[in-house]
Symmetry: C2
Subunit: 194 residues, 2 copies
DNA sequence: TTAATTATTTAACAAATGTTAAATGATTTT
DNA sequence: AAAATCATTTAACATTTGTTAAATAATTAA
């Protein structure tokens, strides 16, 4: 496999399951590289999510419309997986939309090819399980932070963990991610200036 | 398998993967039934979580200590799986504690037996993946509700979805679960009386 | 059954966050 | 470069939730 472009995903995958060079080849033909310009849509509302993406470059947002307003539930960090999972797992129309916050390079695989990998090679199914376990743990961490932390602490931690994200992503999406309004985030940032 | 006691778990499992009678037998020897009295602990802080539980009867809470205070992150609904996942997956000491809110009957399996099932029968690994996917989706739903809904709406929805839970579980844990203080929940309940 | 403990409510005041509306700044398009 | 659009800040006021401290209610243990 082209080491240039696949370096990050291979590094990510090998955290969970050890694949040999030749096992990774099985993936090669199934993969499609997708380049998205800022604001382009990866998964559209009402569409059935049939692909999962690894963010090789750039930031995606996962959002939906709530009372006419766009609400960003997730900003995918660099080098992580994203899809509209409720739609992807049940193959029903997606209420979630995924689009590019910045120009993005995505490594994608579609549902049927992934199912093929899962069914043909138990190691891939294991990888799928482990990745989703990790995503679940992270999701639980976020729930803890909603329960116990103020917006200020959540913001400070995000700033510390993903300084680049704050730089590259409009504050509207950061505010949604933190569960507060843009104006409240702005006030909060002001109060942290000194 | 004793249909009496395993009825719920079999129903749960068969939502995800179709097992034949004889395939379920593989599970039988691996399972341990645990009866917990109210307030008894299933996973202790600092202990390595080596079991996962299906709640056949009763409610468990998943909590941890934050600034000396107990904070409940999760109340497990009836007939669902629970473990201190960060500890369970990485086999490191758990910061989370799991204990019984009410008397509980748990169907448990330990980590090494589960790994054995995963490795020996791909269908079990598939089941594990699907269950965790479902848990992740539910977790994301909760994040949406923290972002877009007021505590009042979160409470009303909980009341509607799990009326029994509100009846059987002290309000302190419900309040934690909703991300508000007990006193705020009490005030909120008062305001809903009319 | 009484005492002790645990759970829930109440209330006054404080702090955090939301709402509305507008101003300012930055970026993109013409 | 000017106009248009998008992003961020600001401010006044409203609402929600937290904090502290206590009273009351319900449950459990002696």
């Amino acid at each position: 496999m082209n080491p240039e472009i696949f370096e990050n995903i291979i590094k990510f995958i090998n955290q969970f399951v050890d694949f040999k060079e030749e096992e990774l080849i099985a993936l090669q033909n199934k993969i499609e590289i997708v380049q998205l310009k800022k604001n382009e849509i990866f998964i559209q509302e009402g569409e059935i999510a049939d692909r999962i993406a690894f963010t090789n470059k750039g930031y995606l947002k996962v959002y939906y419309y709530h009372e006419g307003e766009e609400i960003t539930r997730d900003i995918t960090p660099l080098h992580s997986f994203a899809t509209a999972l409720p739609s992807f797992v049940s193959q029903t129309p997606s209420f979630e939309i995924i689009s590019a916050i910045t120009d993005c390079e995505l490594i994608t695989i579609n549902k049927s090819d992934l199912e093929y990998l899962y069914s043909s090679f138990p190691k891939w199914e294991r990888l799928g399980r482990k990745i989703i376990e990790e995503m679940f743990v992270e999701s639980q961490r976020r729930i803890y932070s909603f329960i116990t932390e103020t917006a200020e602490i959540r913001y400070k931690k995000l700033l510390k963990q993903y300084p680049d994200m704050i730089r590259d992503v409009p504050l509207k999406y950061i505010a949604d991610f933190l569960g507060i309004k843009l104006q409240s985030l702005s006030r909060l940032r002001k109060s942290l200036e000194w």
